[in-house]
Symmetry: D2
Subunit: 319 residues, 4 copies
Amino acid sequence: MRIKVGIIGGAGYTAGELLRILINHPQVEIGFVHSKSNAGKFIYEVHDDLFGDTDLKFSATYYSDIDVVFLCVAHGEANKIVAEFESSVKIIDLSQDHRIAADHSFVYGLPELNKEAIQNADYVANPGCFATVIQLAILPLAEAGLLNGEVYASCTTGSTGAGQSLAETSHFSWRQNNLSVYKAFTHQHLAEINQSLMQVQKNDLGNLHILPQRGSFTRGILACITLKSDYSLEQLIALFEEKYKDEPFVFLSPKNCHLKQVVNTNKCLLYIEKNEEDVMIVSVIDNLLKGASGQAVQNMNLMFGLPEATGLKLKPSAF
Amino acid sequence: MRIKVGIIGGAGYTAGELLRILINHPQVEIGFVHSKSNAGKFIYEVHDDLFGDTDLKFSATYYSDIDVVFLCVAHGEANKIVAEFESSVKIIDLSQDHRIAADHSFVYGLPELNKEAIQNADYVANPGCFATVIQLAILPLAEAGLLNGEVYASCTTGSTGAGQSLAETSHFSWRQNNLSVYKAFTHQHLAEINQSLMQVQKNDLGNLHILPQRGSFTRGILACITLKSDYSLEQLIALFEEKYKDEPFVFLSPKNCHLKQVVNTNKCLLYIEKNEEDVMIVSVIDNLLKGASGQAVQNMNLMFGLPEATGLKLKPSAF
Amino acid sequence: MRIKVGIIGGAGYTAGELLRILINHPQVEIGFVHSKSNAGKFIYEVHDDLFGDTDLKFSATYYSDIDVVFLCVAHGEANKIVAEFESSVKIIDLSQDHRIAADHSFVYGLPELNKEAIQNADYVANPGCFATVIQLAILPLAEAGLLNGEVYASCTTGSTGAGQSLAETSHFSWRQNNLSVYKAFTHQHLAEINQSLMQVQKNDLGNLHILPQRGSFTRGILACITLKSDYSLEQLIALFEEKYKDEPFVFLSPKNCHLKQVVNTNKCLLYIEKNEEDVMIVSVIDNLLKGASGQAVQNMNLMFGLPEATGLKLKPSAF
Amino acid sequence: MRIKVGIIGGAGYTAGELLRILINHPQVEIGFVHSKSNAGKFIYEVHDDLFGDTDLKFSATYYSDIDVVFLCVAHGEANKIVAEFESSVKIIDLSQDHRIAADHSFVYGLPELNKEAIQNADYVANPGCFATVIQLAILPLAEAGLLNGEVYASCTTGSTGAGQSLAETSHFSWRQNNLSVYKAFTHQHLAEINQSLMQVQKNDLGNLHILPQRGSFTRGILACITLKSDYSLEQLIALFEEKYKDEPFVFLSPKNCHLKQVVNTNKCLLYIEKNEEDVMIVSVIDNLLKGASGQAVQNMNLMFGLPEATGLKLKPSAF
């Protein structure tokens, strides 16, 4: 099978990461990479790590003679573009425009939650990075009806999570060797997480608090989640093992994990500890991969009936 | 006044930082800097940033012809050394050997808690870095009797907090761009914090959980603390303002703060937010200064009747 | 074709990187990964980014029922191991033991210099990382007989270049935000570079000086090379274009390049500038890939008649 | 003595650093800190590490009732401001507007070159950071008439050298773990260096090449300088020792030095090695201190007859 893809919003971080994956994907052919502001330039003039890897150029227009289009545009712009494509074109939207179920037909694209629906979907809304790292850590508990108290998720994100726009907090002189908290209790991904929790746990959902921090690293999110449970550690581990036993990208680590175990991969590592009734779950992903473009390709694979990990066996950077 | 000081364990990080402060302290004369393994070497051969600043050498012996000795030795060794000094020598112990009240006469040296006792003390036990950053954030609440539920302190520390010994997690190839959790719920500073809480709040103390993380930066600790309270934000701010209004090193910030605001200073910045009944307090210090050697000098100033900030008006590194 | 490989010295950085490549190489089967000190452990207990990717274990022994063995042992140990393998086993030695031609039958494994010889070789000595980044920048000049004056190569290397052993200069507290020069004029890779220069340029070779620096990054080497030439910039560019036009991993960049364009790839980017008679060449590689394990796999591909880039189309980490 | 100072261009990096020094300078009173865009704001709203240290505000106007004014404005703006001050006000210009001798009366403010002239000056042009780190490394050679061949200065600078404006190369996602060369052979500080060399060495000046690099650190410049000489190492060391024996901030290190030995200090460390006829000199400074604001205060001290190091005994950050 040959899948012809289009990318809209081709100059941003998520589009660049998508291109890094797709140019090596064995069953993908890139139809167009649209970018208004860069039309006519070589892809590698913007994503300069791709110099030597591709001679594609950004296009000024996009068209429907493709199998699937990835929307890498800003929040609020994706929903305007959908109507421009014929219904034969599948859509994967990396923005947050279609994550909350509403009067649209997008499936929420977290494969570990909605695999079958994704396989049958034409339109998929790719989850947020904080939403992914947190959901993978608590969905097994929610499915077992255990998520009924206070849940604190302290999450530290790399600078690429904020995109490529320049801001004081993304200035090297500011961020290097630094750490800071932002959007405490109010992170925009709460809504999509709560929507998923409601989907799997009909009773009381607990009360999730997200405490996001800006880390002095470039890629990845580490979530350190605490909650109370009367399940034993063994019972909790059994829940997670069962939940993820057939998933190609989610693994329960027998020892504490660190961020760089997953950087430059599509994996999520989880680790559980228990101290009296207190549970701690550590969850790590690469925000640009499992938290964005890698998951988008995983969704594409599912939508087209390919093995889920096709093109996603990425060499970790490790260091 | 001229204070003659001795330092034991002169080759470690806290001794180095003490020397960086004391060689510019207007009322200090350095009597000896003891280091078994480095005796005879110049100080700058170990603390090489002091090249050009001092021609002192490490000594093989120590003696009592001093006014105060700083113990910068490993935990477990400080309590063996105390008896070797005549009672005329004041002692400031940077190890954790005398932090918990027991059959010894050390005052717990957190100036914002025990200022008067420190001023009258001959022996002071310098608090731990995590203990300092957390206590300064919650003592005002404890004093008001508000600390009666679950308190979560997610704390991320720089690499200097682990000392200069080499370990996998302090290897640059490992730690750069990385993040990891360790000693969840079991950090050794819990005991001294709980001791202080008991000192100021006789009723239920709440239940403090520390979630330490290893950050990819060198200096500083950021604590992000969450708890519930029915006090309004204004009431909480008033508590903190009142508590710290005369303290030279602790400040309540009107906007969210970041780590590098305090790096290379003896300051602690605090910031409070409230979202419904949830309170978040951010607290930042430099672990080697307010979390160790700076606080030790602050204690020395108090013990000798000097203005508390003498020699501690340090230029922030800022970047 | 199915190539069965063995790895000796499996716990080090270069072996880890080799494993990251080989577990996804479409024509490789891993026979054994030998490590005396880790025998019996899972590979992922040492190279923990491979958790979830492989269930291989380190072996205590090695054997000859393989097609090729990679020697990832310390310098001085590789030459003792060679004799233990039957002549049917090809050998790729990543140590420096066989780089200098002597009474052995190893081909110096720089594909851009010795491709044909490598294709016909049973034994290949993989070049050093500094040697690779510098040779790719100056071989086109040497082949044209232009390297006859002073050549200065200021090279800054990431921490992984020093291996995983712990040392003061690899401590995070020391190296973060730092920079330093070492082994000025005396770097051990000079010998292999000069050997290659003699191979291609029979007349005066010029006088190469290497000024190595320790950078505060983990992966990569940037070489900034200066020399004098009366060739015009256009002539120089033509030389480089011609030399590398069919090479899959070496590219002349039309604009100045930076290290992260090649990190986590097997590529080398080159950039040339001219100012009056002064020439500057910038050359960047990932020291663990084109500078070590990636090049080793490139050599393996050549030795077994595979397309040179098989298994080496790696996603750049970019950030 | 009480020196009343004004600062114009108060929101930039060099003004911030000046404030960090001056608020603790024992003989300085700050008259105004001018910033058009921040007038009325507290200083700490822009330089937020000064929260708790000063309640000064930015002013909308400036006036002549001061002893000295520091010009921290952009290049090209300083020379417009000079005329606005009465001749009773001394001026220290941190921009490059008055570094090259012309129809103005500014003394080039490198104390190790022009100390007496600075002591008698009313107007001082503060040197550039690259100019400082290079001149301190080669002036002793120039004064001895030894600088007559090719001199290569490979200089790597921290991100603060580029100021606080946002640019792709100062974005954390780009710069972290990265390295790149820029302005090869054409750095704008060449002119002021050559002017100084002409001042001390009347004969052939040699041919200085600057190869600047952007390092992944925030503060500091390391220059690695190579040249040829028939002086012995001992003779070279003697030259440097003699030149700097009475200088409070320049030191010849007996062993190789690294950047963090001088970060957050006003010091310059130098180190010399010789290999046959090749000489390497390593020179390190903090670009914001000895390379900018620290040197400006050193010049102020000299202009007002204070001990040169007043207010400049800064605690190194070391880590």
